[in-house]
């Protein structure tokens, strides 16, 4: 334990969101860029779960795609090497269960795709059936096409395919959002169990903070492309420091303390095309001051092992 196998440094990804050339020339609109990910750094230790949390459009999927090497960063670097210095084998469960399976392939064929071609066909078929049963589907489902399944079932098929690859790292982009609660618990337990047995490493994205609390060892909170707070999960859940983290956690129903003080919630979510100056969170922050509007806070280490980017948080 303790070996960082995924290292992300100053990662940035800028998308061109300009109008088409002709339209730009006619309307004299300027070129526009979206910094979907901006200066993100973190390490993921072998055998642990690193969760990324943040509202829609903050860049979570973009970070995972960059880590997987499916997209090229415009800035910074991603290093994914195992103990012996070889590139990691990664598999991903994608957010959208519709596009993640080929509509013309029988499900069994999709699940077998990551398996080594050295494996005999009979062994592959047997493994497909095992995996289908592991994710709670029937062995006869291998012969069906993706269109014959619901969104939740397709997500389970995608999980079976990701597991078939025997990867070192699984990138799970909202893997359980389309599942109902009982199946969700089943899949999460399965993932935990596999992690314990095989020492798998997970990068996990979820909107559901209860799920994150159950799964994560470390946790990063993203806001408009940046990490605003990052650290051990228990530190962030027990003693959240950043005003945004505190707002997020406040929306989790807290059984022990139902009448916890609620901070005011502003509703104007700034556009990533037109970022606020200084701390990008200041329009929604109850603690914002003049400094926040002028100066962007940097991530600073705290004694409890977390990092926070906020002027109002003392070291």
């Amino acid at each position: 334990m303790g070996v960082a196998i995924v290292s992300v440094r100053e990662l940035g990804r800028r998308f061109d969101a300009s109008a088409p050339l002709l339209q730009r020339l006619l309307t004299r609109a300027p070129r526009r860029f979206v910094n979907a990910v901006d200066g993100v750094s973190f390490d993921v230790e072998e055998g642990t779960t690193f969760a990324i949390v943040g509202e829609s459009g903050c860049g979570k999927s973009t970070v995972t795609r960059l880590v997987a090497g499916l997209d090229t960063p415009t800035h910074g670097e991603v290093r994914c090497l195992n103990r012996t210095g070889n590139p990691l084998h990664m598999q991903m469960v994608f957010q959208d269960p519709v596009g993640s399976l080929n509509a013309r392939w029988r499900v069994g064929r999709s699940i077998a795709e990551p398996m080594s071609s050295a494996l005999p066909v009979a062994a592959r078929d047997k493994r497909v059936v095992e995996l289908l049963e592991i994710v709670g589907l029937k062995s006869s489902d291998a012969m069906k096409f993706p269109q014959e399944f619901s969104g939740g079932q397709r997500q389970r098929i995608a999980i079976a395919r990701a597991l078939a690859g025997e990867a070192d790292v699984l990138l799970l982009d909202e893997p359980t959002s389309a599942l109902d609660v009982s199946v969700q618990a089943q899949v999460l337990n399965l993932l935990k169990d596999l992690q314990d047995r095989l020492g798998l490493t997970y990068i996990f994205i979820s909107h559901n903070l209860a799920v994150v609390r159950y799964m994560a060892d470390r946790l990063a909170i993203m806001y408009l492309g940046r990490i605003v707070e990052e650290g051990p999960a228990e530190v962030l859940f027990e003693a959240p420091a950043h005003p945004y983290t505190r707002q997020l956690l406040d929306t989790v129903p807290d059984v022990d303390n139902p009448r916890r003080n609620r901070e005011p919630q502003a509703f104007d979510i700034p556009s990533p095309l037109n970022l606020p100056t200084g701390c990008t969170f200041h329009p929604r922050c109850p603690l914002a001051t003049d400094v926040c509007r002028r100066q962007r806070p940097v991530l600073r280490n705290r004694p409890n092992g977390s990092r926070v980017a906020c002027h109002a948080v003392a070291d």
Binding site: A68, L70, Q91, M92, S100, L101, N102, E113, G165
Partner: protein
């Protein structure tokens, strides 16, 4: 059940076959097409005479009218031409050549178009730009002009007898080269859609090679519209061949397609022997019409959005 039986059973049960049975026009077109294809393919067995064997021809029998007219005989149901060849038999053999040229030309367009479309759609960027601009240029030359061009080149470089022998392939080349653009455009668009779906990303993570992803994942997802376009393209290709032959750029009189038969008969139209060109003309219309009706039905049944 054997796998063939399973396949037939699935086909019979399928949505497509059900739609087919509910569309009389499609059933009739398919039946006519089937009969014509059988007559064409099995022409040596089914044709009543062997019109291209000079030994069997009798000049005494030339320019006979169809059987139901005065002077006609049942031996030559649709009459004979000026060399005494049975018109019905020449039509069987003519359809054989028209269909062979049409199918081969469409296959050539499909192979060129699908390959270029996959490359353009998958790699994008300047590769895409070059291929698609090539297509634009191609589309601004009419097929006839390309045929004239190729004909001119072969005239310049080949002796006459060799030209006659290679005529068949030259016609296929001229028509096939002219028609690839629509396949390339369709396949390119479908490829760009499939490329951005996450299952291709999953395949990349599983270290599947680009070639394999393109051929096993993307290609099958583009073939639906290709089959529709190819069926409709067959009608166009047969017609184009007929026009080229009518203009004297297509098949030679020694190996006549339907178009070449019409051309030969056309000279005799004014002297009253209308059947020599009219019946091959009718066969051509029937063939192209049934191909087009069937193709239209296939398009509506498989892909209502492509209308």
């Amino acid at each position: 059940m054997t796998s063939v039986q399973i396949f037939l059973h699935r086909f019979y049960d399928s949505d497509l076959f059900w739609k087919f049975r509910k569309t009389p026009a499609a059933v009739i077109a398919a039946a006519v097409l089937l009969v014509m294809v059988v007559c064409a393919v099995a022409a040596p067995l089914l044709a009543p005479h062997t019109p291209f064997d000079p030994g069997t021809l009798n000049l005494m029998d030339s320019r006979l009218p169809p059987a139901w007219l005065e002077g006609g005989t049942i031996t030559y149901p649709l009459g004979t031409d000026e060399q005494g060849r049975d018109v019905l038999s020449t039509i069987f053999y003519g359809m054989r050549i028209s269909l062979a040229v049409g199918v081969a030309a469409v296959l050539l367009s499909v192979v060129i178009g699908v390959t270029l479309g996959l490359i353009a759609g998958w790699f994008g960027g300047w590769v895409d730009a070059v291929i698609m601009r090539m297509g634009d240029v191609q589309l601004s030359f009419p097929t006839i002009m390309i045929a004239f061009f190729i004909d001119g080149i072969t005239k310049a470089v080949m002796p006459t007898d060799l030209r006659e022998l290679t005529r068949f392939y030259v016609v296929i080349l001229a028509i096939g080269l002219a028609d690839w653009v629509q396949f390339a455009r369709t396949v390119r668009a479908a490829t760009m859609i499939e490329k951005n779906k996450d299952y291709t990303a999953a395949a990349r993570l599983s270290r599947v090679s680009t070639m394999r992803i393109v051929f096993t994942h993307v290609l099958p997802n583009t073939l639906g519209p290709v089959i529709i376009l190819a069926t409709l393209g067959l009608g166009v290709a047969i017609l184009t061949e007929a026009i080229l032959s009518f203009l004297g750029l297509g098949m030679p009189p020694t190996q006549p397609s339907l178009g070449a038969l019409i051309r030969v008969g056309n000279d005799l139209l004014l002297s009253g022997e209308w059947w020599i060109s009219m019946f091959p003309g009718l066969a051509l219309v029937l063939l192209v019409l049934s191909v087009n009706i069937f193709g239209d039905w296939l398009r509506d049944a498989l892909n209502p959005r492509l209308k």
